[in-house]
Symmetry: C2
Subunit: 466 residues, 2 copies
Amino acid sequence: MNSKGLQKIFNPRSVAIVGATTKTSKVGYVVLKNLLDSGYEGKIYPINPKYEEVLGLKCYKSVLEIKQKIDCVLIAVPAEAVPQVIKECGEKKVGGIVVLSGGFEEVGRQDLAAQIKEYAKTYDLPIIGPNCLGIYNPYSKIDSIFFPFYKMNRPKPGGISFVTQSGALGSVMLDLAAAYNIGVSKFISYGNATVLNESDLLEFLGNDKKTKTIILYIEGVKDGRRLFNVMKRINKKKPIIVLKAGKEEKGKKAAMSHTGNLAGNYLAYKAAFRQAKVVEAKDVDELFNLMRIFSQPLAKGKRVGVITNGGGLGVLITDAVEKEKLELIEFTKENEQELRAIIPSYANPRNPLDMAADASVEMYQKAIEYYLKNNNIDLIVVAILFQTPTLDERLINVIGEAVEQKKKPIVVVTIGGDYTEAYRKIMESKGIVTFSSPNAAVKTLRKFVEYSYYIRCQINHLCEFY
Amino acid sequence: MNSKGLQKIFNPRSVAIVGATTKTSKVGYVVLKNLLDSGYEGKIYPINPKYEEVLGLKCYKSVLEIKQKIDCVLIAVPAEAVPQVIKECGEKKVGGIVVLSGGFEEVGRQDLAAQIKEYAKTYDLPIIGPNCLGIYNPYSKIDSIFFPFYKMNRPKPGGISFVTQSGALGSVMLDLAAAYNIGVSKFISYGNATVLNESDLLEFLGNDKKTKTIILYIEGVKDGRRLFNVMKRINKKKPIIVLKAGKEEKGKKAAMSHTGNLAGNYLAYKAAFRQAKVVEAKDVDELFNLMRIFSQPLAKGKRVGVITNGGGLGVLITDAVEKEKLELIEFTKENEQELRAIIPSYANPRNPLDMAADASVEMYQKAIEYYLKNNNIDLIVVAILFQTPTLDERLINVIGEAVEQKKKPIVVVTIGGDYTEAYRKIMESKGIVTFSSPNAAVKTLRKFVEYSYYIRCQINHLCEFY
């Protein structure tokens, strides 16, 4: 793999957009417009023989007409025209290529795909796609996602990277990250994987210093053995969270007509994920949950402490903790005495600690401090009914300060309408991991604890989770 | 049960608030303030011997001091003082009582609870609570929920009613309903169920003409046999969606210290739910999903048709359909020809129908019309990536018109940040059922199909789902 080329694609000093146009609903327009609006500071070359100028920039007939070096070429022309463009890119010795256009393997045009492969080999060109959304790097501002900003926000720079076979799936994850102000390192939608595949891209992210957590969405994979080895190696350094689609028979057919790849036997994938100890998500919402939990320090054990001002939430979390085979600690007599000094007289000093609907910010603060100090608690779940009159935004700071200590994983469960959702977003933007469902929170913690055990075992030669 | 009293509680011409106060963080203040701000048109009597006046209203020493009839008494005084207040309410012959205060069975004060029961019997008083959030009726504007409006919106009038043992759980559901503009009929948080229990309240809602769907959250139940019979009878007319908490051992203990009720054996509950054919939700988010799906016409079968502009979403939905044992129909050659006239040339006329990222509103419209006409499709899932440049809000009208025909259940799957979420809320307020997760959508449809089969079997002497 030409990984130097991938570096150039993600940090390009110059970008050419083949298929640039003035037609506002076309990919070639939206991508160019986005680059202009994003603050990208490199040189931009629109390419389209039909125009002299597009969006105020001089337009070129082909990449060969440009004298300067080109690091990254984004292609958005009809499938039939793509191979010739790639040939010219090879002759021009560009850094790398992203083919956004569809109309290849997924509709039976293996002939066109073969030509792309051939040119990639001849000219040693790194090519992402075709049939994809391409790339986004908030650090360099390179962005080939052909969705307008007002419809899809772009997230800020951070540590989460994406390798996704589906542009749709990837873009909704990015959009959610932006809405909750969660930072992203690299986004790669790779579509048909005609040249570069998921393993190549994982290798790239494994070496990318800014990437701390990797999200992988796959449908069909050509070389499963290689993917397994790559995942296993990288997952030890950076958690890989994987969502596999095309599990069932009809899902496989749908995958074939989506990106032209065989989805294979899910049981084999599942076994590989387990053996490589990567974290498997079962759905989009779980992917979003798992993606965020890895901002927390690894768990030292599986003993959970719960704090709440809504008894029902406490009961639901307790049920989930037991179902997921985590452990709800029981307080000692001594603990109970210590807790009585914190909580109201009518509340019970038990775990979950239900401080009832008139719990104050100060009570939460004392309870969280107590849970942080208590060495029998490995994970803290703070369930908050923000609707009560006695709580206010100071609670966000209290939790934020607890999270910043990085002593134990802390998560928040809070559910509600506009007011609560606004507070939830503020919390997320401060690095507090929040959930709007007790079960989702605990399921996420369970998978996080499993990964924590795995990593700690590498270091300490300890134990299995079960 | 004194059901005339319940009528009075929910449609009171006069309300007394015992424990009304000027202290802004107290229940007695928030409830009075909310009633004044809500547009409630009946007479309001603050009661507290300490004040001459509260919030501009004359304040009374006790209910006995008031000459006029009182339909509904809301009590927010310390537990010790509650029995005496109830005794006076009995002497005054009020319509009914809601006790908001906590400090009874849940903290071992069975003695106080016994006194409440005794007076309820002596004076034939319907009493909701104690240890609860009480009631809300958007039609009459009666509202005892002691959470300020700016922290928790109240939903508009509609057909969904709640019977919930947990105030927290109930309030987050109401708050979500308000955020998505979903209409509600009656809300009842009943806490310790000292006098009126879940069965009494279900009976009341069974007879309430405005109630179309019933949400039930229970932890512990005293008379399981009666609940089973009541559920079974009412569920045939109006779907009952139940969430049971306190399933696991520690969850049961948490439930006991929450509302002072034994949570019992979950397997027995589960069997009862199955036999009564009520719809069981496994978590808060599933409860929110199931609550909305019953606005759709009952399903005639389990054959699913999917339309999308995001291939990955189509694959994930397909996987879920198969996993949930619904049926993804395969199109005939004839269907395929008909579809080719609608979709772009590069798309495949298959189910899921993936019209790719440049699908237009018009394509969606034609596809939905085709799916509505096709008699082999019982349920329609429309997955939308609103982030693409070619879609706009006209699609909401297209789907709204399809839903209004009430021919088949239609649901939307759409996931994203602020823009998509805004559109999702608009859709919900127009009666379109939306989901932000493919799995959640299909799981909800599965349970909806099961209920549909059950009801259709009653009528047609047909079939079981399996």
